[in-house]
Amino acid sequence: MHMNDQFDTGMVVLANSGPTSACWSCGEMRAAHFCTSCGKVQPPAPADHFSFFGLPRKLDLDVARLERDFYELSRKLHPDLHGVTDTREQEWSLEQTSKLNDAYRTLKDPIGRTRYLLSLEGVELEEQSKAATEKARSTGQMKQQVVPPDLLEDVFELNMQLEELRVQKKMGEDDPALLEEIGKQKLALEAKQDVLLSELKGYWEEWDSAAEIDDSGRTRVRDKMVDLLNRRNYIRNLVRDVNKVLEM
């Protein structure tokens, strides 16, 4: 299965399961990423971003600590420091570093972290939407839209204004009133984004404790977070579109 029986033991250990296996190099008990005894980088274990950092799957995490761990691991795993005499160790060091970067980038961002955790929970936003449409088709009921109607109205209106501004800009004109109106809406959207983020954070604690309690509480909080992420995503895309037109 693996290139050499000698290395087998190290491959299957999860990063957060502690030093339960032997270092491929010195035979001492190893830590997740490198051997604490001889300092050799270990082959990457199949781990999600949380367990890569030895963290429980919780949303309300200590970002300062995450950052410290990231910098420390970055230094220790740096490919320049390893594999001078061993090309496998050089490769593992590269792989570990790339996993480290992915994990850090995802977890430090509150939205990215929530999105990632929900994906670990099996939430696929597009699949959900498709399933809801199929349900609406078979029952004849109205599909529950993930985006609330009032937000959709605003989005539609703003898009109409953006279209107008785009046409004006192409013709070399600028309607100051329209510019001001769009600028105002952009500020309102950005404020809404912040509100949605703090609402989302409000559910973190509930999720983190609900994870150990019961399924229905879990589902309820999960759906709330999905809803907030959907709305925020919508607004983020819209702000991006506004900026694009303003920069024309």
């Binding site: 597009e126 088709r137 839209q145 993930v146 989005v155 995503n233 983020r236 895309n237 819209l238 991006r240």
Partner: protein
């Protein structure tokens, strides 16, 4: 990713772009959105109250080529159909007609949602409009 010829045709020559009077009792309006991509789609139908046949349809979509093509096609398809027939339109038929790739399936879902939402709006108006119409006479 490249668009199919049909998508490009609908994108370059969208059918039935425009809007109708939202307040009219014969008009149903569906406004739907896809958070994955930020698309927003408005589809309106004008229904003959005697025959339940959709006599006209208009749309306005802000989104990618596939979203525009899906809604353009949707307005073509619903025209001349009864509301019940229009409710039977499935997103998979739109996918097939436009040869949409998997990443663009949500555009067809959005178009089906828009048809459904417009019909729902029209039906709701029929239920509430009648007593009002009587009272107005």
């Amino acid at each position: 990713m490249s668009y199919s010829d049909k998508v490009i045709d609908h994108y370059n020559n969208p059918r039935n772009v425009g809007s109708m009077d939202k307040g009219s009792s014969e008009v149903g309006t569906g406004l739907v959105g896809a958070p994955e991509c930020g698309d927003v789609m408005k589809l309106q139908i004008k229904v003959n109250p005697q025959t339940s046949i959709i006599e006209d349809a208009k749309f306005k979509t802000f989104g990618c080529g596939s979203a525009i093509a899906s809604s353009s096609l949707a307005t073509e398809w619903v025209k001349g159909k009864t509301v019940e027939e229009a409710l039977a339109i499935k997103n998979t038929e739109i996918v097939k007609e436009l040869s949409l790739p998997p990443v663009k399936i949500h555009c067809s879902v959005l178009a089906e949602d828009a048809i459904r939402a417009a019909i729902h709006d029209w039906k709701k108006k029929q239920e509430t409009a009648k007593p009002v119409a009587v009272a107005a006479q």
